[in-house]
Every structure is written in C-alpha cells, then in structure tokens.
Amino acid sequence: MDFEFIREQTPLYIEAAKLTLHMAVIGVLLAIVVGLVCSMIKYFRIPVLRQIVECYIELSRNTPLLIQLFFLYFGLPKIGIVLSSEQCAITGLTFLGGSYMAEAFRSGLDNVPPIQVESALSLGMSKSQVFTNIILPQAVSNSIPAFCANAIFLIKETSVFSAVALADLMFVTKDLIGIYYKTDEALFMLVIAYLIILLPISLICSFVERRVRYAEYGD
C-alpha cells in the first residue's frame, strides 16, 4: 500500500465526497417530499392521482437506478430535454427514492391501529383532527426505521452517478485506477470515504429510532 499516494490524493477524495454527500442530501430530502405526497394520495384514495402514483411506484421500484439515469441523461436529450449531470443525478435519486419513501410512510400509516382512530372519533374529534393529532404523529414514528434504512440505501446508490459523468467518489476512484494503476489504494480510499459518510448517519439513525420508541404499542 502506497500511503504517500493516499496522502496526495486525499484532497481529491474530499472534494468528491462533498459532491456525493451534496447530491445525496438533496436527493434524499426531495425523495421524502415525493414520498409523503404519494403516500397521502394513496392513503386518502384520491381518484386518478392514485392510479398515477401506483404506476410511478411500480416503475420506479422495479427498474435499476443506472437505467433511470441513462434514460434521463441519454434518452431525454432526444426529445429536446437536456439536463446537466447534477440535475440527472438528483432527479434520478428522487425518482427512485420517492417510491421507497412512499411505501415506508404508507406502511407507517397503515400500522396505526383502527382502535386509535375510533377512540379519537368517539372523543368527538373531527376526521381532520384525528388525522393531524393521532394518525400523523404515530405514522411518522412508525416509519422512522424504514425512512432511515431508505436514506442509507439511497446514499449508497449514489455510487452509480459516475455513469452520467459526475465526479463523485466512484468516478474519482475509477479515474485514479485508470491513470495510475493504483487499484488497491484507490479502492481502499473509496471504502473509507463511504464509511466516513455513512457511519455517522447510521449512528444518528439508531439514536433517532431509540428516541421514537415511546410510540410502541402493547404493554
């Protein structure tokens, strides 16, 4: 292992890691927004929109991110829509993550026991009061573990961004291997970089998950 090489290339990795993290954070946040909107549409069974959401979720979950990115990057220009690498990456990640977040939140909503709704109704609360005061808070804490798992999954998925010429961690690594043939060093740094990004997030997630345990049911 050539540690001198690792030292020299570290700034390059830091830049790439910043880019990866930047894309991932925007993608995950947008995915959460899309997910919330989609799950609400499904939960309230809004006609027409619900079928559209249904199609979107199936399409998004059953195609690989790489193919989605190719479609955005190479396909869309054919019909005159040209997106930059960054725009493609964020759109792709949001498109993929939105469906996963939607399903996570929907199962959180479905797991609020009917008795909770009934007892709130029998206290004279209106449907909208029941939703905001009873269903929503419980659904959010129900779905926190799935949200966290999805966030980590999406951050890892950013490793395919190099396919649309985005200088992320994977891109830099492949570049260095191509130029210097320092395969071991480059891959080693790649793994370390992902760990540095993901470990703290994973720890924060388990902390948050512990905090929301208060909403557990049963005795």
Binding site: E118, L123, G124, M125, S126, N133, Q138, Y214, A215, G218
Partner: protein
C-alpha cells in the same frame, strides 16, 4: 318517566352476505339509568354500542339523543359523539402522549377549553382513580387496569351525557378487573347514564338498574337484575346463565 336520553328504534345492521348482526332492535335509556347488556359472543352487543355512536353505519332504523335523531347526521356527528363517551376493550390510550396529554387533547382541541382549567379537572379525576402520580408517564408504563382507568377518565373529561363501556375488562388479568369496575361503580353512584357490555355477571348484578339479554341480533329478555339472574324468564337466558356454573366434580 320523562323523555328518554337515548332512543333506538328498529335498528337493523348487517355486514357482508346480508347476515343480520342486529335484527330490528329497539331500546331506550333514561337519564341516570345504568343498563347492562349481556349475551353470548357474536350476538351483536358490541356492534350495538358501536352503532349508537355511529362508529358503524346502520342499515335502517332511528337513533335519537334527547329526542333529536342523528342516524343520518354527517357533518355534526362529532358533536353527537362528544355527548356519548366510549371506552373500548383494548387499551386505546394514545401511545405517543403522556397520560395528562391523553386527557387534555380532546377537551382542548374539540371543546376549546382553557388548558389550566381542564388540567385541574383532569388531575382531580386522576386522583380519584388513584393515578395522579402517573400523569407524566406514558401509557406503556401503566398496567392494563391502570390504562383502562385512564381511558374512563379521558371519556369523563368531555362531560358526556351517556357512557358506553364495551367489555372494558375483557382483556385484563383477573386481579385488575376489580380496580376498573370499582371506578365504574363510583360513576354509577354519581348518577352517570351508562350502557355497559360485560361478561362479569356479579358486576352486572350490582351495577345494573336493568339487564338486557341479547342473542342472535335481538333483545331476547329485558329484566331487573334480581329477576334476570335469579329467575330468568326465557329458556335461552337460563341456558346462557347456566354456562357460567360448573358442576362440582365428585370423586
């Protein structure tokens, strides 16, 4: 007798397959009266209570509270439910709120009452059921019996005109049943109008002004508790009550 507080006329309700679960039930409840409904599982007792506060939609029939019918009410059904408190079999406290917040939520959100005023009343009632020291705990830290006592207090804080109790001790360990039923007895003494579904026959006898025996979606017998438990009129009721007795095994 004045006007009944609650009237049910020719209530019919069926689930899928048109199997009637309630088949032409008529019933009325006077102010201050405690009526206990007993009957075998699946006879429609719980559905009957749930129809009364419209958690279940009825097929046909009339429901009246203080002479005003509300079976078709859509928008203002929550106004009716405010006056009809209900406690369920399974612990239905909101798990993400402390005991005190469980109690304050509906009076503050629905009735827009002043927080301090409700809080004072909530603490008084909690004290009366012996749970004041639990007010800042979460429901999961309480036993089943304690949770049910809180659920009763929560319903009482809305100042309902009628309380519906749906097998509130059925999911409890035997030694916790008494602490909950004691609270109900206290309520009865204060003149609360109640409609109670229970399998605790001794409790039914001591709390009831009137006992209703239901079977297969119908009211089969209506009687005073003394008459019903000692000398039931119908064979079906006799058969039902016998199922609570065991023959002594002689060896």
């Amino acid at each position: 007798m004045g006007q009944p507080i609650l009237e049910v006329e020719h209530l019919k309700k069926s689930y899928v397959n048109n199997v009637p679960i309630l088949d032409d039930v008529s019933f009325s409840l006077q102010k201050g009266e405690v009526v206990v409904i007993v009957g075998p599982s699946g006879c429609g007792k719980s559905t009957f209570l749930r129809c009364i506060n419209r958690l279940e939609e009825i097929d046909t029939g009339v429901l009246k509270l203080n002479g005003v019918s509300y079976e078709k009410e859509k928008k203002n059904i929550s106004k009716v439910r405010e006056k009809i408190g209900m406690v369920f079999q399974s612990y239905d406290l909101f798990p993400n709120m402390t005991i005190l917040n469980n109690l304050l939520l509906a009076p503050m959100k629905v009735q827009k009452r002043n927080k301090e005023e409700v809080k004072k009343e909530a603490e008084q009632l909690l004290d009366r059921v012996g749970l004041l020291d639990k007010k800042d705990n979460y429901p999961r830290q309480l036993s089943g019996g304690q949770k049910q006592r809180v659920a009763i207090v929560r319903a009482m804080l809305m100042h309902p005109e009628i309380m519906l109790l749906d097998e509130i001790t059925a999911a409890l360990d035997p030694e916790m049943v008494r602490e909950v039923l004691q609270v109900v007895l206290e309520l009865a003494k204060t003149g609360m109008t109640m409609l109670i579904v229970t399998h605790e026959m001794e409790f039914a006898r001591s709390v009831a002004d009137r006992v209703i025996f239901m079977d297969k979606g119908n009211i089969v017998e209506e009687n005073t508790p003394e008459q019903f438990f000692d000398n039931p009129e119908t064979d079906r009721a006799k058969q039902f009550l016998n199922s609570f007795h065991y023959e002594t095994v002689k060896k």
